[in-house]
């Protein structure tokens, strides 16, 4: 954070100096490039943070510009424009948000199809702008747009654009460093995972897209009075593609990357296009090379420096005590799974499964491969919906709820393969889990959340010192450490029911022991109910208060360790005699 402020300050100084130093020509050049840079920042937020690619930002840029242009043409000179103009940025934002909600709903993947949708939409936008003569002025565009009051003359235009760019950078820097940004990056890495921490990926992605729409519309708002002309090309596909190219070349992941790309290529192009005949070839080659070898763009080459700065910024500031989870984190309520059926095609995954978890204690779920153990977890957490039967937690029927809602009720899970966010720091990983059950969506905008601390976290840090190296990238952790980190993540969420899928898979005996102790500890201090899928019977004997044995999608037997070991049917299914 600190270095972003310093950075911004330096930026402002530089920006203010330019007109005096470089003269009118550059002042004008940069005014336009700055607006493009603002749009690029938005693309960076969607693509570099949220992990989905908008290929049609021209649509929002154009919308903003036409709205602003029409407002200025019709109401110039009256103060009402100050009321109307904001709409030129807000309407695109709302539109983008709506599109985002519609497209992302019920989809935990944001593959290239979203990109193609935005592409098609911007083609539509261009045709509308080009043919709706009465409103848009058609091909020749909306002409003779008056200046904004106080925005006449190149210098003024420049300062408006520069101010806007700095503001946009500030906004982006703030969002990217706010909890929201952390969650965006987590989402980009493993969309499926964060759902189970209680996040609605639809809203997260729609919000990112809305921000991008806002920035594009905002740039359009200023474009109209700056150029005094708005033409359909502005909402076309080519400009949209160029904006993506600039973002990629500059570096989509960082705050300054996209604007750097936009300004750099923008300036170089106006300078060289008319002198170097093969200019377009050079640009496309550079672009291809960047895509191939510099996924983080030109700015990415400064990564080492940035990391050092980030490390400085990463020393833990004064912690803030986090509120308790939304669900109150009370002692574990009962979970009842009653006669659940789940089949895909004519494969019966769950076949009338019924489980009852009354008293808070440690349950083990065992059974041969394909018995439906993991599917049971997926059904309880709402990832799979059972076709019949009923699942109740704390009296609430989970059947209809989406996974994130179920997670917020206090059901946490840990996956078999550790799925920590490898490109996030240890601390961010923990925080993503911490916020999930505690923060309301808007809270994610408060930087203070990044200083959250809870007693549970403190104790976990004592148990596992490696959780203290906040800045360490989770990707650099060993397999065992990742397992423990993910366990810690599911614990700091302070769930009331914790589902662990083979918590010790692939761990050394020593590490396994540590995990077992932690489970016991959590069980006592948090008073939660734990369900463990486990194959290692030694481990089961050690932790299980109660064992469920599953076979072919239904409950075969249950009881304490001794009774299960005595049960011949259980032995038979393990040895392979079908009963």
């Amino acid at each position: 954070m600190a270095y972003f402020l310093a950075f911004s300050a330096a930026l402002v100084a530089l920006v203010l100096a330019i007109p005096a130093v470089l003269g009118l020509y550059w002042t004008f050049q940069l005014s336009l490039t700055f607006l493009y840079a603002i749009v690029a920042i938005g693309i960076g937020i969607c693509w570099g943070q949220g992990g989905f690619l908008p290929l049609g930002q021209g649509m929002f840029l154009g919308l903003g510009a036409y709205m602003s242009g029409l407002i200025l043409v019709n109401y110039s000179g009256s103060a009402i424009i100050w009321l109307l103009l904001p709409a030129a940025a807000i309407v695109p934002a709302v539109l983008a948000w709506g599109i985002g909600l519609a497209v992302f709903r019920g989809r935990t993947e944001s593959g290239p199809f979203f990109a193609l949708i935005t592409l098609a939409l911007t083609l539509l936008a261009f045709q509308i702008a080009n043919t709706w003569n009465d409103v848009t002025g058609g091909f020749n565009g909306l002409r003779n747009i008056p200046d904004l009051p106080g925005m006449d003359g190149y210098d003024a235009r420049y300062y408006f654009a520069a101010g806007a760019l700095v503001a946009a950078l500030g906004l982006a820097a703030w969002l990217i460093n706010a909890p929201l940004g952390v969650v965006w990056r987590a989402l980009a890495q493993n969309e499926r995972r964060i759902v189970f921490f209680g996040y609605s990926t639809t809203h997260l992605k729609a919000t990112a897209f809305a921000v991008a729409g806002f920035l594009a519309g905002f740039a359009g708002l200023l474009y109209a009075p700056q150029q005094n002309l708005v033409t359909p090309t502005l909402s076309g596909f080519l400009i949209s593609a160029d904006l993506v190219i600039w973002t990629a070349v500059g570096g989509r992941r960082s705050v300054i990357g996209p604007p750097v790309g936009a300004i750099l290529i923008g300036v170089l192009t106006t300078e060289l296009r008319d002198r170097v005949t093969v200019w377009e070839v050079i640009v496309s080659l550079v672009f291809i090379l960047v895509v191939l070898y510099l996924p983080n763009g030109l700015v990415g080459m400064l990564a080492p420096l940035q990391r050092r700065l980030a490390a400085l910024a990463a020393r833990r500031p004064k912690p803030v005590e986090a509120p308790p989870p939304a669900h109150g984190g009370l002692a574990a309520p009962a979970l009842g799974v009653d006669g659940c059926h789940l089949s895909v095609g004519d494969v019966h995954i769950l076949d009338g499964l019924s489980l009852a978890l009354e008293a808070p204690s440690i349950y083990c779920l065992i059974g041969p491969n394909g018995a439906g153990k993991t599917s049971t977890f997926n059904t309880i957490t709402g990832e799979l919906k059972s076709q019949s039967g009923d699942i109740r937690f704390d009296g609430v029927a989970l059947g209809a709820l989406p996974p994130e809602r179920i997670a917020k009720l206090g059901i946490g899970r840990k996956f078999q393969i550790p799925s920590v966010f490898t490109e996030l720091s240890v601390r961010d990983n923990i925080h993503v889990a911490l916020w999930g059950t505690r923060a309301r969506f808007l809270d994610l905008l408060k930087p203070s959340l990044r200083r959250w601390q809870t007693p549970v976290l403190a104790q976990l840090r004592q148990r596992y010192p490696f959780l203290e190296n906040d800045a360490e990238m989770a990707g650099n952790l060993s397999h065992g450490e990742r397992q423990i980190l993910e366990l810690a993540m599911s614990l700091v969420a302070e769930p009331r029911l914790l589902l662990l899928d083979e918590p010790c898979a692939g761990m050394s005996a020593e590490d396994s022991q540590i995990v077992i102790d932690t489970i016991h500890w959590a069980r006592q201090t948090l008073g939660l109910t734990v369900v463990v899928i486990e194959h290692d019977m030694a481990l089961v004997r050690e932790i299980a208060d109660h064992i469920f044995v599953m076979h072919q999608g239904s409950l075969l037997a249950q009881g304490d360790v001794a009774s299960i070991q005595a049960d011949t049917r259980v032995r038979d299914v393990y040895v392979g005699i079908t009963v």
């Binding site: 004519d346 494969v347 397999h479 392979g576 079908t578």
Partner: protein
């Protein structure tokens, strides 16, 4: 004269995680080696290491006396090793017939008659997407695919998992027939009955190591169950 297939002190796993910690064995033509042990003790990993789907951390695999170091799974398959994995066992996005005839485009349905006799359901579903088959049917399909390749050596991972008893019996017959035709198998299984019926030699694994091995006749079931059961 070196054995058909030989693996010495195999070490490997996923990334830095060592799941298999030094396993050795060998197999002669017309022989069946059964590998068993509880879930998660490294049986499947062992097969993947033998077939080259996972990189070896240590040890060596030899086929017909030649070190397989650096040969891709595809190459090993062409050299005469079949692999029947435990997960993602069929091409869900292909039809049953496509699954069978994928690498034998000249094949006719009759060529599979011997299998369809015992697995008639698959014949009925020749044009159906493999993805829509039940777990057991998929198992049979992948088993059938592996057997029909007629390679010298086949590595089978849990072929009977989720398969009805009667079909398991058919599988037993088919394996015995193939063994009689001098084809060799390494079969990872938890179904001891199946292994007892087909295997000449048994290996029991735990914690990525061999804890018990020997000619099938010499190993008592109780000992196995001691390692296997709960």
């Amino acid at each position: 004269m070196s054995p058909l297939f030989q693996f010495d002190d195999i070490v490997g796993g996923y990334g830095e995680v060592e799941v298999v910690r030094g396993v050795s064995g060998q197999i002669e033509p017309g022989r069946v080696v059964g590998v068993t042990g509880r879930n998660g003790v490294g049986k499947s990993t062992l097969l993947k290491l033998l077939f080259g789907s996972l990189p070896l951390i240590g040890g060596a695999v030899r086929f017909r006396g030649r070190d397989l170091k650096g040969t891709s799974p595809a190459q090993r398959s062409r050299d005469g090793i079949s692999f029947c994995p435990q997960e993602r066992i069929v091409f869900d996005n292909l039809g049953v017939w496509e699954n069978l005839s994928l690498m034998q485009s000249r094949a006719a349905v009759e060529d599979f008659a011997v299998f369809f006799e015992v697995f008639p359901r698959l014949r009925e579903r020749l044009r159906q997407h493999a993805g829509t088959l039940s777990g057991g049917e998929r198992k049979m399909l992948s088993f059938m695919r592996t057997m029909s390749e007629g390679k010298t050596l086949a590595l089978l991972d849990e072929p009977t998992e989720g398969v009805q008893q009667e079909n398991i019996d058919h599988m037993t017959d088919l394996v015995l027939q193939a063994r009689h035709d001098q084809r060799s198998f390494v079969i990872v299984e938890q179904n001891i009955h199946f292994l007892e019926n087909v295997a000449d030699y048994l290996i029991v694994m735990d914690q990525g190591r061999i804890v018990l091995e020997g000619p099938a006749v010499t190993i008592k079931r109780a000992d196995i169950i001691a390692h296997l059961g709960v």
